[in-house]
Symmetry: C2
Subunit: 137 residues, 2 copies
C-alpha cells in the first residue's frame, strides 16, 4: 500500500470522505517530523494544490485531531502545531530556535495522584530548554 492509499484508508476508517485536500494534508503530516503549523502546511502544499486555502487547512487539521488521526500541540508561541504521530511520545521545544523535537517517554511509569475521578483521554509531556545545535553555538 503506497502513501496515498494509506492516507485514504485511514480517512475512510474514520468515516471522513477522502478529498484531495484531506489526503494531501494527512499524507504531509505523516511524513514530516517538523510539527508544522497551519502556515507551514499551507505553504508546503500550495505548489501541489494551487487553490488550497488556509480556511481549508484549518478545517482539515481540526477534523484530523477530532478523529484522532493527528495531535495538536502548543509551543511557547501561541501557534498550533500538528503531529500525525499519535503514539505516546514527548515533545521538546528549544527556546532559542523554536524547533520542536520528539523523544521517547514511558508514560506508563508516571504516577499521578488526584485524577481518580477524571476521564483522561490525552497525555502530553512537554519539555523546554536548549537543543544540541543551539548549545554548540
Amino acid at each position: 500500500m503506497n502513501k496515498v492509499e494509506s492516507a485514504i484508508s485511514l480517512l475512510r476508517s474514520k468515516s471522513i470522505r477522502p478529498s484531495i485536500a484531506r489526503i494531501k494534508i494527512l499524507e504531509y503530516l505523516s511524513h514530516t517530523t517538523e510539527h508544522p503549523t497551519v502556515e507551514m502546511i499551507h505553504t508546503s502544499l500550495l505548489p501541489a494544490i494551487p487553490t488550497l486555502s488556509k480556511a481549508t487547512v484549518y478545517k482539515t487539521v481540526g477534523l484530523l485531531v477530532e478523529a484522532g488521526l493527528a495531535r495538536l500541540l502548543y509551543g511557547e508561541d501561541c501557534e498550533a502545531h500538528y503531529d500525525a504521530d499519535i503514539s505516546d511520545h514527548g515533545h521538546f521545544q528549544c527556546t532559542r530556535c523554536g524547533k520542536i523535537y520528539d523523544f521517547a517517554v514511558n508514560l506508563a511509569l508516571l504516577e499521578t495522584e488526584g485524577l481518580e475521578r477524571f476521564a483522561v483521554t490525552e497525555r502530553n509531556v512537554f519539555f523546554r530548554g536548549a537543543c544540541p545545535r543551539c548549545l554548540s553555538e
Copy 2:
C-alpha cells in the same frame, strides 16, 4: 509574614522592584488555583487598581515567568494561562468546560530517551479529558 510582605520579599529576592501592580499580580497568582489568563487577572484586579492596563499585566506576567516566580501554560485554546505554583505538578484541562486542574505527579519516575544532548529547563505534563463535574452531567 503576611501575603503582601511575602510577595514583596519574593520580588526583592529576584531583584524586581516591588511596584503596586507587581505585588498585586503576584499575590493574586499565589492565592488562586484558577490558572488565570491575562484577561482574568486584569478583570479581577481592576476594582483594586482602577488604572491597571492590560499592557502592564502582560509585561508583569512575562517578568514573573522569566524570573521563575510563575509558570506559563497553554491550554487547548491559544491563550496563555499563568500559575504561581512552580513546584513539579501536572495540569489537566477539561475539554468540555475548559477548566484547568492541578494534580500530583512524580516526574522523577519518567524515563526519557533521546534527550541526552539536550539541556532541559522545564518539564510539563499536560492531560486532557473530562472533569468529574462535567462527567456527572
